[in-house]
């Protein structure tokens, strides 16, 4: 059993600040983390490894510094790590990213065939949830998104049964491997790195592949060139014409402020009062 887990190094979005005048992102000093959703995928792969025996390879596409994310994954217990990095990948949208990742997975498969590919449900920087489905289609693997639980794995029959979150319920699906699974958050908790794995991670020779090593056959399908979508404008949200009416009254006591607020609001928006009366009736 060989599982490839796709991870991404992302800026810790909670710490991103926008320059108040130029409206540009101030990236300096923003720490990077492994996309939190990908850790659920990695932990799920490590659990399959514990239970069924498996080799877990972590894969990322990104700048050279993304190697740190792979070492983190090794410290948690992944066996092997591949960084796909090349200037020509810069500016890739989700379609171009899925092309490069699929090529790399095929390359990884040449050594040991890949049975399962795991990803997080989405990243916290792009939030698109599009790369997983894209990679599955390119590799012609069965696609299982928003998987909340792996019920069983039969390595002899190459069958896997999973629970998948859908609108209004849970679908229980049985499919054949190879398949690609995007793992939902909150179903497991990342284990602690062991001392032995931390030492291993520090010394581990991460494979660093450029476009040729990653088996990219058509470079025009990667990077800006290979991206059908283009960002034509970045802008701050337009402010409302009128700002909030700040409630003030003589005493400015919480009680008086509250009464003033309700009087103003119910005069201007009588339907709100009606709605509230209706529900408390």
């Amino acid at each position: 059993m060989h599982i490839v887990v796709c991870i991404k190094q992302v800026p810790d979005s909670a710490q991103i600040r926008v320059h108040p005048v130029t409206n540009t992102i101030m990236r300096q000093g923003v720490p990077t983390i492994v996309n939190p959703y990908d850790l659920y995928a990695l932990e799920e792969a490590l659990r399959l490894k514990d239970e069924y025996g498996a080799r877990v390879t972590v894969l990322t596409m990104g700048p050279p510094m993304a190697e740190a994310a792979l070492r983190k994954a090794i410290s948690y217990g992944a066996d092997d790590a591949v960084l796909v990095t090349d200037r020509i990948f810069a500016g890739s949208d989700t379609l171009a990213t899925s092309y490069a990742l699929a090529a790399a997975i095929q390359q990884i498969s040449k050594d040991i065939p890949v049975d399962l590919v795991f990803t997080g449900k989405q990243t916290i920087d792009g939030d698109t949830a599009q790369v997983g489905p894209g990679v599955a289609k390119r590799l012609e693997m069965q696609l299982l998104t928003y998987v909340s639980k792996i019920r069983s794995l039969d390595t002899d029959r190459q069958e896997i049964v999973v629970e998948r979150r859908s609108e209004g319920g849970v679908q229980v699906l049985k499919t054949k491997i190879p398949s690609l699974i995007t793992v939902l958050e909150g179903n497991n908790e990342m284990r602690f790195a062991t001392m032995a794995n931390m030492f291993r991670a520090a010394r581990y020779p991460v494979k660093i592949w450029n476009k040729d090593a990653a088996g990219i056959e058509d470079p025009t399908k990667t990077g800006l060139k290979g991206s059908p979508t283009v960002v034509s404008k970045v802008f701050a949200p337009t402010p409302r014409a009128t700002k909030a009416e700040i409630i003030q009254c003589e005493s400015n006591e919480p009680k008086d402020l509250s009464v003033t607020l309700l009087a103003k609001m119910f005069t201007k928006f009588p339907n709100i009062e009606k709605e509230l009366l209706k529900r408390s009736a």
Binding site: T94, P133, K137, Q142, S166, Q171, P228, A244, M265, S280
Partner: protein, 363 residues
């Protein structure tokens, strides 16, 4: 001298020319999502938005309905007409009983290749995102996720799809220039629900799936429906009281629950609050949580970062309570109280209680 020769050469940027073979792509499509016998509201919301864009482009608005054979599936076409569609492509097949990626991807991809729409929208639901990513990759075209605004650049007949970027701090507009169709997903409640007009009608064009069960690898073993009564239904709540980091401690959050109870409201929260474990994930409002459109939204201790704003901006009336008079929430709320939430919230709860009791007596 003829008029033409006097005309000055066009100034400015070079005009974008669409590839000749892509000019045949015409029309705006909405994938009509349904599960267990009902259309997902996001599809109707998309029809409302799609109608505006189709009118701008001077083309038809089309719904795509796929499902098992029967009256229910057919009735979805009718609903699509009532909500603005001119035409529906309909594929009925027993293999489409439950959603599965393979047959739905094939059906939708085949329709696109055959009838060539210039724009295709899907809801950003678990189903829509699964299908959109697969279809866009199969068609090798552009897909923009979770758009909050849709428009058309009429000069180049291009979809302008805007969405939050950089973790939600800014918005960006994305175009798919030399590829068709231009695909985008939109989350439930981001667009307004159009009026249902039962006098409208449209044409149905039927097609076939052309698959057999044995060729589909993934099988559905069972479906376990959610116990609805336990799950917060934030996107469709009319009144929401939401708390943010300004509530300081998890214990203080009970003040939010108390006001919500008096108002018969749902409780919402920001991402930091959910991540800290103060409330469950289903209550998160914003870019990475739910989008809401209540009649009244009370934001307490919420600064109003764009990540949160995009999820609640469409509320009819927004009340903000925050101790920072410069908090961005006051730029788009309707009413604001500057002060300590821990003292104002109990007073506000009392004021609502008293007012509603008096009004009820009077009524």
């Amino acid at each position: 001298m003829s008029e033409e020769t006097k005309k000055p050469a066009p100034a400015g940027k070079k005009k974008f020319e669409l590839d000749e073979r892509l000019k045949a792509y015409k029309g705006v499509w909405v994938f009509i999502e349904h599960e267990r016998g009902a259309i997902h509201p996001v599809s109707l919301e998309l029809l409302g938005e799609g109608r505006k864009l189709a009118d701008m482009l001077g083309v038809e608005l089309t719904g795509v309905v796929m499902g098992p054979p029967g009256e229910t599936t057919r009735s979805f076409c009718q609903e699509a007409f009532y909500h603005g569609a001119d035409l529906c492509y309909l594929i009925e097949d027993p293999l489409l009983q439950d959603y599965r990626n393979e047959p739905y991807t094939k059906g939708l991809t085949d329709l696109v290749n055959k009838y060539q729409p210039e724009i295709l929208f899907l809801g950003a639901t678990t189903l829509g995102r699964d299908l959109a990513g697969s279809v866009a990759t199969t068609l090798k075209t552009g897909l923009t996720a979770d758009c909050t605004e849709l428009n058309i650049d009429l000069d180049v007949r291009s979809l302008l799809a805007s969405r939050p970027t950089f973790g939600g701090s800014l918005l960006c507009t994305i175009q798919t220039l030399n590829y068709r169709p231009q695909m985008a997903t939109v989350r439930p409640r981001v667009m307004a629900m159009p009026e249902r007009d039962a006098t409208r009608n449209g044409r149905i064009i039927e097609d076939t799936l052309g698959m057999i069960e044995s060729s589909i690898i993934t099988k559905v073993l069972e479906f376990i429906p959610d116990e609805m009564q336990d799950k917060p239904q934030l996107p469709f709540a009319d009144i929401i009281v939401a708390g943010g980091r300004g509530m300081k401690k998890p214990e203080n959050f009970k003040l939010i629950w108390e006001l919500a109870q008096v108002l018969g409201a749902e409780v919402g929260a920001t991402r930091p609050v959910v991540q800290a474990g103060w409330v469950e994930l289903d209550r998160q409002v914003g870019q990475s949580g739910k989008t809401v459109r209540p009649k009244l939204y009370i934001a307490v201790g919420i600064s109003g970062a764009i990540q949160h704003r995009v999820g609640m901006d469409a509320s009819d009336v927004i009340i903000a309570i925050n101790n920072d008079p410069n908090a961005p929430i006051f730029d788009f709320a309707h009413y604001g109280i500057v002060g300590n939430a821990m003292t104002i919230l109990p007073a506000l709860t009392e004021a609502f209680k008293a007012h509603l009791a008096t009004a009820r007596k009077a009524g």
